[in-house]
Symmetry: C2
Subunit: 130 residues, 2 copies
DNA sequence: GTAGGGGTTCCACCAACGGGAAGGTCAAGA
DNA sequence: TCTTGACCTTCCCGTTGGTGGAACCCCTAC
């Protein structure tokens, strides 16, 4: 498989696949003409990576998950631990965003949004509002 | 005011303040020795920026908000529009994260987390699971 | 032979800073 | 007066996870 084909099959852009090779996540073979030659296992890995990234796992998380994925003697506890750490980060982000959402929603509803210069949103950002 | 003092007062790191000058958000004066000389209005702007950033507004949003903040003839509709766009982005991010949270929570609860190699989390990332 | 649609490398860029080096400045104390 | 230490300056590199583009090679079809 050339990079174009595996890009289509895995759903990842060719640029991303080259980048994943560069950082050592995959190690495709090379044809005599210098083209990357992907095997079925590379497609598996890339699909795996695409899904893990879609779940928000960092590249380093993915590296660890991939190592576990390939380790027949892994324990599921190791995987669960990474997933739990990641879940905690996600929940923290959600909490932060919900805070912002709440504040913004209040400010927006308080703002007339007309042609007048008075604006509760700017007022609240101004030092004077303290 | 030197940068150390305004950093303390605004709550922003000195590095961040220098960066904000570099990208043109603030324009402090200079003393003869080359030190930045901040005025009260710079403190106002930096405080404003700190709060807007804490609400997740991008630097470009901040630039626009700051221009409106300084424009006595602004209309509150312009501010409200920026805030609404930003709120929409936040809500999209929350939705994405909640999706991830939901999937991860299911996977984690399905995973025994013991010493055995079988792991529903990895299985779900594997291409085989389709 | 040439046109096109692959592929390759390398370099630069994005957000929003943070770390650290190398050096100038200032105020206080011995 | 000298020195110490805290402060300031600029400059450059690193971060995360790629994306865009330039310049160039390769392969197939017409």
């Amino acid at each position: 498989m050339n990079i174009g084909e595996i890009a289509t099959r895995s759903g990842l852009p060719a640029k991303t696949i080259r980048y994943y090779e560069e950082i050592g996540l995959i190690k495709p073979l090379r044809d005599t003409n210098g083209y990357r030659a992907f095997r079925q296992q590379d497609l598996h890995k890339l699909t795996f990576l695409g899904r893990a990234r879609a779940l928000g796992f960092s590249i380093e998380d993915c590296r660890n998950l991939l190592a576990l994925y390939e380790d027949q003697n892994r324990s599921s506890a190791d995987v669960k631990s990474i997933a739990r750490d990641h879940l905690a980060k996600i929940e923290q982000k959600i909490a932060d965003l919900v805070d912002m959402q709440s504040t913004l929603t209040h400010l927006i509803s308080a703002c007339a949004g007309d042609n007048r210069p008075d604006c509760p949103i700017l007022n609240s950002l101004d030092v004077q509002s303290l």
